[in-house]
Symmetry: C2
Subunit: 217 residues, 2 copies
């Protein structure tokens, strides 16, 4: 491959290939060499110029997916045809139904061996997703009367942390049935907090994603 | 110091001294050498025989505290004078009021720089505390009618994860006011799930522990 004068393009190429390798073979069974072999002549040195380790690549792959996910959250947040609680429901419905979820669950990175990745997920959830996407929606819901709380900042954090962390089979190793039951209890928690948005279609989707993960891990 | 023929005693001595140093100077500002200087002649080699790093010592200090905490949870679980929901309330009341909490919050380890410690806390919470201490109490509450849920395993996890992780100012850096508000929302979550156990005394205690942490970090 000709040397790329645009490092951004090289990085994206590495991430595309890495993502595909992680999907096909799983993160644990992919080596840096596997990724290089699929990069059409890019040298080991060129990869290490951009990434210190395989974990670094995984973090970058995840970051890029997070950015895409955040764009989607912003789109829902900024819609004008839904009230607050409808937007919150749309967030979960749309997020669960993204095709990339299946890919992600196919890659099945085991966070048990990856505390740094887990920590970056927690940090992103509390410092980015909660204040920038969930909080404005809760505030809109308070204004339009569809959501009632005196603590929107804290409620935003709690909702999205429980969703992203606890119901995530990649973090807390769980069977399909356990993931499904966790998501149901998550729905009960929301309902108890006055936000009744989790429906049968969503819980069934969680069951399906979890079964993909079980098959591939 | 004479060479100790009982490694268990040596380890406990190292942990006692390390805990005191971490408390007085903070984890970040304590070096292995500080610990050695207070061990009355134990060599650097002797410490490294038992612990690979300062982080290793912190993990062992935390493990020992976890064991003590679990003994306390077991005592409440096994009481015969309380019903299920009263035991659950006692768990939070007694845990928050332990003097060691103040010491722990004085040490103020910053989990932001310590993803492994965070991960071990998550793992312990889900794999030990939830099934061994909280779940039996919920099941007792279901039997005696004081708690209603079809998903006791998941509810046990959710309750204790949110309490140990989200409302913990060591994990999610927060002001005193934010910790206090999180704990109030935690109480609302429990109430919404039919478990109304968080009272004013407990929320005030959280405010106090959080202020100790803020002063010392």
């Amino acid at each position: 491959m000709a040397r790329n004068k645009h490092p951004e393009e090289t990085i994206n190429l590495i991430l595309d290939v890495a993502f595909c390798r992680f999907m096909e073979k799983g993160y644990e069974h992919t080596s840096i060499q596997d990724i290089i072999n699929n990069l059409g002549g890019l040298s080991k040195g060129a990869i290490y110029h951009h990434f210190k380790s395989k974990e670094d690549i995984l973090v970058a792959v995840t970051d890029r997916m997070t950015k895409e996910s955040n764009r989607l959250l912003a789109d829902i947040r900024d819609r004008t045809d839904l009230n607050g609680i409808e937007k919150l429901k749309a967030i979960f419905k749309v997020s669960l139904n993204r095709p990339v979820q299946e890919k992600l669950f196919t890659v099945a990175p085991n966070m048990h061996n990856n505390p740094k990745l887990l920590f970056s997920l927690l940090k992103d959830t509390v410092e980015e997703v909660a204040p920038k996407y969930i909080l404005p929606i809760l505030k809109e819901g308070i204004s339009d009367g569809s959501i009632k709380t005196d603590y929107p900042e804290e409620l935003a954090e709690l909702i999205i942390l429980v969703a992203n962390v606890w119901t995530n089979p990649m973090i807390f190793n769980s069977t399909v049935e356990e993931s499904y039951r966790r998501f149901i209890v998550f729905g009960q928690m929301l309902k108890g907090l006055g936000v009744d948005i989790i429906d049968k279609e969503m819980t069934e989707r969680v069951r399906r994603l979890s079964s993909i993960y079980q098959k591939n891990k």
